[in-house]
C-alpha cells in the first residue's frame, strides 16, 4: 500500500485515504466550441499511460477532499514529488535524474 503525502494537509497517509484520478496536466480547453473533433478526442480519451516517471492527479478523498498532483515512477511506485493543483508541471526528467534513475 502506497504512502502518500497530501500537500494540503501536509501529512503522509496510507493509500486507502486517496483516489487516483489519472494523468495530470490535461487542461479542459477554455472554449471547447473552438476545438476540432481531433483535439476534443485527444482531450477526452488519449492518455500516455507512461511506464516510468509520470505526473498524476490524486485526491485526498477520505481526508481534506482536495485534488493535488504527484510525480510517480510507475515502475517502482516511488513518488518523486507532491504539489498542489494549479502549480506548474515539474520537469520530469530533472526529477528522474535527481532520484538517481
Amino acid at each position: 500500500m502506497l504512502l502518500i503525502y497530501c500537500p494540503y494537509c501536509q501529512v503522509e497517509r496510507a493509500e486507502t485515504e486517496f483516489a487516483c484520478r489519472g494523468e495530470a496536466h490535461i487542461a479542459r480547453p477554455a472554449d471547447p466550441s473552438q476545438t476540432t473533433d481531433e483535439e476534443w478526442v485527444e482531450f477526452l480519451y488519449m492518455r500516455d499511460n507512461t511506464k516510468g516517471i509520470a505526473a498524476e492527479r490524486w485526491r485526498h478523498i477520505h481526508g481534506c477532499g482536495r485534488f493535488f498532483n504527484a510525480v510517480r515512477d510507475t515502475v517502482s511506485d516511488n513518488f518523486l514529488k507532491f504539489y498542489k493543483a494549479g502549480e506548474p508541471k515539474p520537469d520530469l526528467e530533472a526529477l528522474a535524474k535527481e532520484a538517481g534513475k
Partner: protein, 1000 residues
Amino acid sequence: MSQPFRTEKGGRIDRAEQLTFTFDGEEMQGHKGDTLASALLANGVHLVGRSFKYHRPRGILTAGSEEPNALVGVYRNGDQTPNLRATQVELYRGLEAVSQNRFPSLGFDIGAVNDLLSPLFPAGFYYKTFMWPHAFWDRVYEPIIRSAAGLGKPPKNPDHDFYGNIYAHCDVLVVGSGPTGLAAALAAAETGAKVMLVDEQAEFGGSLLSEAGASIDGKDPAEFVAETIAKLAAMDNVTLLPRTTAFGYFAHNYISLAERVTEHLPTPDPKLPRERLWQVRAKEVVIAAGAIERPMVFPENDRPGILLADAGRTYLNRYGVKVGHKVLVATACDSAWQAAFDLADHGVDVAAIVDMRETPPESLMSIAEARGIRVEAGCVVTGTLGRKRVKGALLGRMMTSGQVASGGQIDCDALLMSGGWTPTVSLYSQSRGKVVWDADKGAYVPGRSVQKERSAGGAKGLYGLQATLEDGYAAGEEAAKTATGKSAKVTYVSASGGEAGSGGILGALPHDRNASRVKAFVDYQNDVTAKDVKLAVREGMQSIEHIKRYTTTGMATDQGRLSNMNALEIASGALQKPMTDVGLTTFRQPYTPTTFGLFAGISRGDFFDPVRKTPSHDWVVENGGVFEDVSQWKRAWYFPKSGEDMHAAVARECKTARESVGLFDASTLGKIEIVGPDAAEFLERMYTNPWKKLAPGRCRYGLLLNDAGFITDDGVIGRLAEDRFHVTTTTGGAPSVFATMEDYLQTEWPDLDVWITSTTEQFAVAAVQGPKAREVIAPFIEGLDLSADAFPHMSVKEATFCGVPCRLFRISFTGELGFEINVPRRHGKMMWETLAKEIEKHNGTVYGTETMHVLRAEKGYIIVGQDTDGTVTPQDAGMTWAIGKKKFDFVGKRGLARPDLVADGRKQLVGLLTKDPKVKLEEGAQITTAEQPATGTPAEGHVTSSYYSPALDRTIALAIVKNGHALEGKTLYVPMPTGSIPVEVTGTVFYDKEGARINV
C-alpha cells in the same frame, strides 16, 4: 515403549509433560514443545501423505515452513483445517490430525496406480490431454480436473473463528530471529529505535535452537537466545512477535504479518482471534530470513525416511528425536557432516557419509574417523530401496569420465541429504529487488535494495555463526541509524564453533540407472521430476517462466524455495545456456499460505458491506414491507397486505396513488448543497439546462452529462436563494456526482466562488403523491400557502412540518400532484409516522420502489442507469428540451457535437407496447426487425424497462432502439425462446400525455 525414536536426553521439549494426540485415528504420545512432525518422527512415523500426482508415499522432508510433503488436516470443534504443514503444527493435548490425498487409507491408496501409469502423465499432461472436443471443456474435463486437484478437502462449515487486524508503525522491522535477526534487533533496540522482531516459529532463536557444539559469549547458543529475548522483552521500544510470518512485502515498506494467536492452544480463549493481521509500515527492514537446505536430485529421492540433513539435525538437537536407527548421510557439502556427527554422538548408527566430493575437507574426515563413521568420498546415491519407508540406498562411484560406476548398496532406515544452501530471498524479491548470481556462493543473492531494506546473514548467503552475528549487529545498527538518525554503543558478543562450511551441488545428479525408468524429484509437492524439466525444454519451452508453468515446478506452497535452483540448473543444462541466462522466477506474496480469514478480518456477514437504512426502516419492518437492496441502501420494495403477492400489492399501490394518495420514502436520493456568489454560474457549467434565470423558490429538472456528451445523472434542483441551490441526484449516483463537481470546481474552475457539500444524510425525504397530496400535508405545514397559484408545480420553499424546519418541494415523479418534504434527518421517523397515519384518513397507501418505478414508467420518466447505459445522449433519450442551447458551454456540450453523436443510426429511447396487452417483455430482451432473425443477426436494441401498468390495464415497456424515434407506429419483434413477441413502437409517455394531473 512409546516414542521409540526419542533420544534419552537433550532437546527443548518438556519431557515431564506428555501429550496424547491422534494421527489418522491412531493414538500417540508426544511432548510439550514438539511439532506434529517431530512427535510423529518420535513415534517412528515417516509416511504422512501421498503425493499430488502419482500418489507416492511421502514422508517429512524438512523441519520448517517450506515442508512440501507433510501436509495434514487438523480437526478442531468438528471442523477440519486442511493443508497445514506438520512441521509448523505445534503439538497440544488432544490434537487430531489426518493425512490427505489418499483413499481408502494412507497405507493402501488406490490413487497410487498413477505411479505405475506415470508414463501417461508427462509434463504438460493437462495441456496435451484435455484439448478436444471443445464441448468437453466445461462438462467433462473441468469436473475431472477439479476433482483430482488439490490435496486437502476444504472445510464444509462457515469459519466459526474470528480474525483480528492491527496497524503498526516501527523504525526497524526485523524478520527472522536466528543469530542474524537477534543481533540486528538488539543492536537496533539499543539505539532507542522502535523495533519489531518477528519469527514464524513458536520460539525465537531460529538455527540457534538446533545448534550443538558451538558457543556464544561462552554460553550455549540456546542460553544466549533466552538472555537476548529477555533483554528485548524488557525494553519498551521493542515488540516481539513469535508465531508470526512476514508474508508480504509491498510498496513503500508496507509489510503484512500473519500472527497465529490460538492455533497452538488445546482450549483457545474464545475472546481471542485465531489469527491477527498486522499491517506494518516500517521505516527500515532487516531481512534475516536465513537460508534453507536444498534437496539432492537423485532417483527415488522422495521415499519416506529421506530428509534434509539440517532437518535431521534439528529434530535431534531441538526436539530430541532420532530420524532413524541407521542413518545414511548423502551430501556434497560440509554442513551435513555435522548432522552425522551429532547423530553419532547420540548413539545413532551412521551407516555412512556419502560425499560427492573426491576429497572432503581433512578436518571433517578426521572427526568422522574418530567416531568410526564410514566415509564414501567421490560417491553419489543413485537410487533408494523401500516403499513406505526407505530401506537402503544404491551407491555410485563417480569416475573422472563423468560416468558413474555401481558402488554397491547400503542398508539404512533413514537418509539425510544436503545439496547445499539457498538464501531465502523471498521477501527481498517481493520488495521488487532483483537477485544477482554469486558464483562464489553458487547462489542467487539479493542485489541492490529497491526499498528501505537490507538482507543480512544467511539471507544474503553469509554463513557461519560469528559472521552472521556480526552481520546482524551491523545491519541493525545501520537500519536504526537510517531510520532515526540515532546510534549507540552496541555490545557485540563473539561466538565459537558453527563455522561456515563449503561445497554444494545443483541439478540432477549422475547415476548409472535407466534414465527413462527412474524418477528423481525436483519439486516434491507438485511431483515434478528432473525428466519433466528436460521434457519441457525438448518440447520448446525456452524461458524459465514457461518451464515453470508447463511442468508446475516451483508452483507449490513453498513457491520453489526447495526446488527452483535445482530446476534452473537442469533447465540450463537442457537449454545449453548458462544458468544466469535462463533467469529466475519471481517470488511473490504470500511467503507461506495464508488463510482467507486473515484477509477478510471482520469484513464478513453483516460487516462485509455497510447497510444504509432510511428513517422509515423500522416502520416498514413492523408493517410487513418487503425490502430490496439499492446499492448499500435497504429500500422498501412493496407492502403486501395479507394474501397479496407482489403483483397484487404493486397494482393496488399504483391504483391508490393515482386515485387518492401515496406516501414514499425518498430519503436515499442524493442531495448536494451548492452555495456561493457563483453558485448559479457553476450549475450553468455543470448541467445542460440554464440556471441563471431560475427564480429563487423555483425548481428545474437538471440533466448531467460527461464531457463525452453522455447522460450520467439527473435530478431536480431547487433554488432556495440567489446564492443557494438544493441539488438532488440519483440514489446510486450521489457520490460520483459530488466527486465530479469537486473535480471541475477544484481543477478546472478554481476561480469560481462556490462551496459544495453533500447533504444526502442530512435530510429525510417523504414524497406524498396523488390527487389528495395537498390535503394530506396541509395540516402539518406552517408558513406556506399551498394553493396551486401560490405554490405551483416546480416550486420550493422553506416552511415547517409539525414545527420542524423543512424544505418543501412541489415536484412529481409520478405525474400526479406531488410534494417532497425534506426535514432534518433526526425528525425523519416522526415525519414518516405522522404522514403514514394521515394518509389512512384519505384511504391512501404507502408504496415502495416497485410502484415508484411503474408510476414513473407510465409517464416516461427515465431512470439513469436503467434506461440509459453511458452511451445515451439527451437527443437519444428525447430530452433535447433539457439543453440550454444558448449557453456558452456546459459539461458535455462539445461532446454532443462529435460526428458519431449526431450521426444517423443511433439508438434512441422509445416506448413499446406488445400486441398482446397481457404479455410482459423481459428487461434486457433484444429487439429485431425480423420476426425470426437468422442466427447472428445484430439486435436493433433492447428493452430497458418493462412493467404491468394498472392505470392502462396492460403492459408497457421502454427500450432503446436504433433510429427508434423514426419508427413510431412500426412493428418490431422481441425473439424469446418461447416465440417471437411482436411489439409496436410508441412514444415514451403512456399515461396523461398532456400532463393535466400534475398542475392541480
